[in-house]
Structure formats: structure tokens, C-alpha cells
């Protein structure tokens, strides 16, 4: 169960999306998300779905992986859709007891679900095609102008890199501790919430202790290799804006215009 998490997963590849500069991709995701909330017509959503499908095709990553990433939000999707369907005032279509489903409700429910799904897919496109190191490098570069006003850009980037790097390690460790305590007869499944929360102590305490121990060991190891912060540090892989990056940036105004245009066209009901 614990191994199924796709968050922050990266699939190495050589597709167009893989080759884009991570800063450009970051900007694109930001624009993608902002514009997604401006879309409010069926035409606009069709446009978005098509663009996203093309991007998925370009990334060369199996569609299955995107659906896998959607698994954790299934509950949220259904919940918001149902709430929207019943709680929106408007012209009723049919009644279920005291609840009534309205036309506006269905419209909002469908749009909201689509929006959430596109949101997850769009951000997945970024994390699937960008290695965590590239991503933190990009964030460091974006934050670096702020270092003049005291924002420790390099330290933030290093912390993020370490945090991402240790996700699988800590997961593995958790799995190991769970097994060890199960072997001693620990029961995590029965009892009420309070009992279950209490049953977590045999996992959490060893986990915290080992996390602190790892942090300490890592700090010593880094100091031994003369790490002293970002000052004067050079990189093996320099981020460079290339031609494809500039070309892809040109599509941002195109998308903006298309979205604004789509807002003007509400096709009948939708």
C-alpha cells in the first residue's frame, strides 16, 4: 500500500517535455493552473482536454500513470461533484426526496471534476518529466534574485532536494518498522480511532529517532566534504534557455487568447 504513491515520481526520457528547461516548465504549469480557473465553458474545457492530451502524447509517458496519480483524489472528486450537484440553486431537473438536482448544479459539478482532474494531470506532467534535482535547481534560480533581500535561495533548494531524496528512504524505513512491530504482535487495524492512534507510537517513535539520526549523519557527511552553502558553488549541469524553450514560451499568449476567446462562447446549455 505504501509503495503505490506516485507523488514526485519521475520517468526519465528524452521527449520534448523532458528537454524543456525546468524553469520554463514551472512557468507553464503556473500559467496552466491560473488559466484553468478562468475556463468556464464547454468549449474552453474541450480545448484544455485536447491540449493536455497532446502534451501527454508528447511526454511519451503511459496514460495509465496519469490515472494512477488520480487515485488519491477520487474521493475528493466524487465528494465535490455530489455537493455541487445538490447544493447549487437553480432550475430543478428532478427531485430526490428533499434534495433537488439542478441544471446549474450538474454543470458546475462536471466542470469542477474536470478542473480537478486537469489540475492533477497538469502538475503530474511537470513532475513526471522533470527530475527532482532539476526542479529544485529551477526553484533556486528563480529565487536567486531574492537572495539580495535575505532569502536563502540555495539553502531552500538544498533542503527541498534532501527532502525529496529522502521520501523513498523514509517510506522504506516505515515499511520495515511496521513489519518489525507486527512481528511483535502489534495490531494497527482494530479498535476505535483513539486506540489506533495510540497503536501508532511504536511506529512513529522509531521513525522519528531514525530520521534525526539520518539528518545528523548527513550533516556530518556534508561538512566532511566541505559543504558550506551555495556561495561560490558551481554546477555540473548549467540551466540554459534554448530555442525550444523560447518557442514554447510563445505559446503562452496563444493559450491566453484561446481561453479568453472560449469564455465568450457558451454553447446553449453549457
Amino acid at each position: 500500500m505504501i509503495r503505490d504513491i506516485t507523488l514526485g515520481q519521475f520517468f526519465p526520457g528524452k521527449s520534448l517535455l523532458h528537454r524543456l528547461d525546468p524553469r520554463v516548465k514551472l512557468l507553464w504549469v503556473l500559467v496552466y493552473i491560473i488559466l484553468l480557473f478562468l475556463v468556464n465553458t464547454a468549449l474552453g474545457f474541450t480545448l484544455y482536454v485536447v491540449i493536455t492530451a497532446v502534451l501527454i502524447k508528447l511526454s511519451g509517458i503511459r496514460v495509465k500513470m496519469f490515472f494512477k496519480g488520480m487515485r488519491p483524489i477520487v474521493f475528493l472528486l466524487v465528494f465535490t461533484a455530489v455537493i455541487n450537484m445538490f447544493m447549487t440553486a437553480g432550475e430543478p431537473i428532478f427531485k430526490l426526496g428533499f434534495l433537488s438536482v439542478t441544471k446549474e448544479g450538474i454543470r458546475i459539478a462536471v466542470f469542477m471534476a474536470l478542473r480537478l482532474m486537469l489540475l492533477v494531470t497538469g502538475t503530474s506532467l511537470l513532475t513526471f518529466t522533470t527530475s527532482p534535482i532539476m526542479l529544485t535547481d529551477a526553484i533556486e534560480r528563480i529565487l536567486s534574485p531574492f537572495s539580495k533581500i535575505g532569502v536563502p535561495a540555495d539553502a531552500i533548494a538544498m533542503m527541498m532536494t534532501i527532502a525529496i531524496r529522502f521520501i523513498p528512504t523514509i517510506l522504506e524505513e516505515t515499511d520495515k518498522i511496521i513489519k518489525a512491530q507486527k512481528a511483535r504482535g502489534a495490531d494497527f487495524e482494530s479498535g476505535n480511532i483513539l486506540a489506533r492512534a495510540k497503536a501508532m507510537t511504536p511506529i512513529l517513535i522509531p521513525l522519528f529517532i531514525s530520521a534525526f539520526r539520518r539528518a545528523d549523519e548527513l550533516a556530518v557527511a556534508m561538512e566532511c566534504r566541505c559543504y558550506h552553502g551555495g556561495e561560490g558553488r558551481t554546477r555540473l549541469k548549467q540551466l540554459k534557455i534554448s530555442k525550444i524553450d523560447i518557442e514554447s514560451l510563445c505559446f503562452i499568449p496563444v493559450l491566453l487568447i484561446l481561453v479568453i476567446f472560449s469564455r465568450q462562447f457558451s454553447l446553449g446549455l453549457m
Binding site: 512491530q181 507486527k182 529517532i209
Partner: protein
């Protein structure tokens, strides 16, 4: 007694290219024996012991402990812990209570023992690993590495299982610490008549305590048998990246040079006896 029948386990069945961690495992673990499970890193030893203790469910095949099919969904891991107790690699990282006593008591408490029984079991277990009453109220985190390891092993011993499984119990300990833990486990096995399965990379350790050896190679069981049956096939062991004890190599060399000494010598102690016999005679 454990019977493993045609067991196979895959960590990611979605991706068949990764292959199975263990495959086609058939094995019988009899009562009152000291088994040693050896094999190259990644040969599936840890997976096998997790399967036998019910922590992993096999993708195919069945495992019976005393005739009970542990793959049955109705069987809870908790009920199995009475029969089979596992000490994982570096077990000191699972300690969590504020005193040594209460940490060792965690297992028996989970089994539903009453106060008196818990106290009795904890005392016995800590005595087995050589920790006296002065340690009871100390925080396990203040102890040395070797002592922490003992507390963790005592935590499983206190559950009084019929079969005790130890995954590299001596890894990272100094020679004195290794010998103490090995002899404590050996004594426990002899006193209680339980079975022990010990995963080890040290052939010296294996020779000291085990009477049966199970050899794993690339997810399969390559050999099983008594200590001398397995160690007599040194060439096969070499081909799997394994060794025979150093002293046995010396004996082999001696035999090659026409010294008339018996070949079944796996510990330094035996070698000393045999060589001095030879010198006198």
C-alpha cells in the same frame, strides 16, 4: 514445523520484467534444529523469512506452520507470532518504549498475557540475553549498540515462539558481542527445544552454531542439508559467491599436501583438537 510448498513471491506483479524475488521454494523446517540460511546479497533470504512469518503473502504456493495454512486470509499475523518470532536486521531501530522492561513487555502484552506472566517472560528473556535487573528501568536509547540489539532480541524471545527467526543478528557487532549473542541463542534453542533459523553472511558463525544449512541462490533454494553436507560442496558454494569457513580451507590445503586429517572440520576449536591429535599420534 514449517512446510513451504511451491512458493513464489513477486514484489511488483505489474511489471513481470522485474522477476520474482523468490520462486519455486520447497522447504521443510523441522523442530529442534538450528538452521542457517545463507546466500549472496539479493538471493531472497529476507523475503523468504518474511513469507514464513506471514508478513508477506506468497503470490503462489502455500505455507503451513504445524499444519495450519498461514496463507489463509482468516489467519492474522498476530496469531502467528505465538508460533514464529522474527528478529529483523538491525532490530535496535524498532525500540520505542522509555524503559528496557516495558519495551520487552510490548510483545507479551500484545499476546494478551496478564501482569505476572508478562513480568515472568520479560525477566526470562532479558536473562537469556545476559541483561540483569539493573537494566530494567534504563531507557533503551542510553544503551550501547550491542546492548540495544540484545534488548530488541529479548523483545522477540519474550513472545516465546516455537520457531525463532533471526536476520543477521550479529551484523555490525564486535567479535566478542557476536560470540555472546550466538551462544545465547544456541543455549536458548537447546534449553527450550525450539527451532532457530538464522540468516548469516559469516560462515564462521554458521559453523559455530548451526546443524542444518539452507543455501539460497537467485531466488531459489540451491541446497539444503546438514552442515557437513553443504560445506563439503565448496565448489558449488564458490560458484554462488559463497565461501566455506577459513579454517576448512586450511584443512583442505593440508589434505592436498597429503596430511592425513579428516575433512569435516569447520570450526577452529575442532581443528585444534584434530591437529593436536595428529601431532601426538
Amino acid at each position: 514445523m514449517i512446510e513451504v510448498k511451491n512458493v513464489c513471491y513477486e514484489y511488483s506483479p505489474d511489471e513481470p520484467s522485474l522477476g520474482a524475488a523468490v520462486e519455486d521454494i520447497n522447504l521443510t523446517v523441522e523442530d529442534n534444529h538450528f538452521y542457517s540460511l545463507i546466500g549472496h546479497t539479493g538471493s531472497g533470504k529476507t523475503t523468504l523469512i518474511q513469507l514464513m512469518s506471514g508478513l508477506l503473502k506468497p503470490t503462489a504456493g502455500e505455507i503451513y506452520i504445524d499444519g495450519i495454512n498461514i496463507c489463509d486470509k482468516k489467519i492474522k499475523t498476530r496469531d502467528l507470532t505465538r508460533k514464529i518470532g522474527v528478529v529483523f536486521q538491525y532490530p535496535e531501530y524498532q525500540l520505542f518504549e522509555d524503559t528496557v522492561f516495558s519495551d520487552v513487555a510490548f510483545g507479551p502484552k500484545n499476546l494478551g498475557c496478564d501482569e505476572a506472566e508478562i513480568k515472568n517472560r520479560v525477566q526470562k528473556a532479558l536473562k537469556t540475553v545476559g541483561l540483569d535487573e539493573s537494566y530494567y528501568e534504563i531507557s533503551p536509547f542510553e544503551l550501547s549498540g550491542g546492548q540495544k540489539r540484545r534488548v530488541a532480541i529479548a523483545g522477540t524471545i519474550a513472545m516465546e515462539p516455537d520457531i525463532l527467526v533471526l536476520d543477521e543478528p550479529t551484523a555490525g557487532l564486535d567479535p566478542a558481542g557476536r560470540d555472546e549473542i550466538l551462544s545465547e541463542v544456541k543455549r536458548l534453542k537447546d534449553e527450550r527445544g525450539i527451532s532457530v533459523i538464522m540468516v548469516s553472511h559469516s560462515m564462521e558463525d554458521v559453523a559455530k552454531v548451526a546443524d542444518r544449512v539452507i543455501v539460497m541462490n537467485k531466488g531459489h533454494i540451491a541446497m539444503t542439508g546438514t552442515l557437513s553436507e553443504v560445506f563439503s560442496k565448496s565448489d558449488e558454494l564458490y560458484s554462488m559467491g559463497l565461501e566455506i569457513p577459513q579454517i576448512s580451507k586450511v584443512i583442505l590445503k593440508l589434505r592436498e599436501n597429503n596430511v592425513n586429517i579428516k575433512s569435516e572440520i569447520y570450526t577452529v576449536k575442532d581443528a585444534v583438537t584434530e591437529i593436536s591429535k595428529l601431532l601426538k599420534g
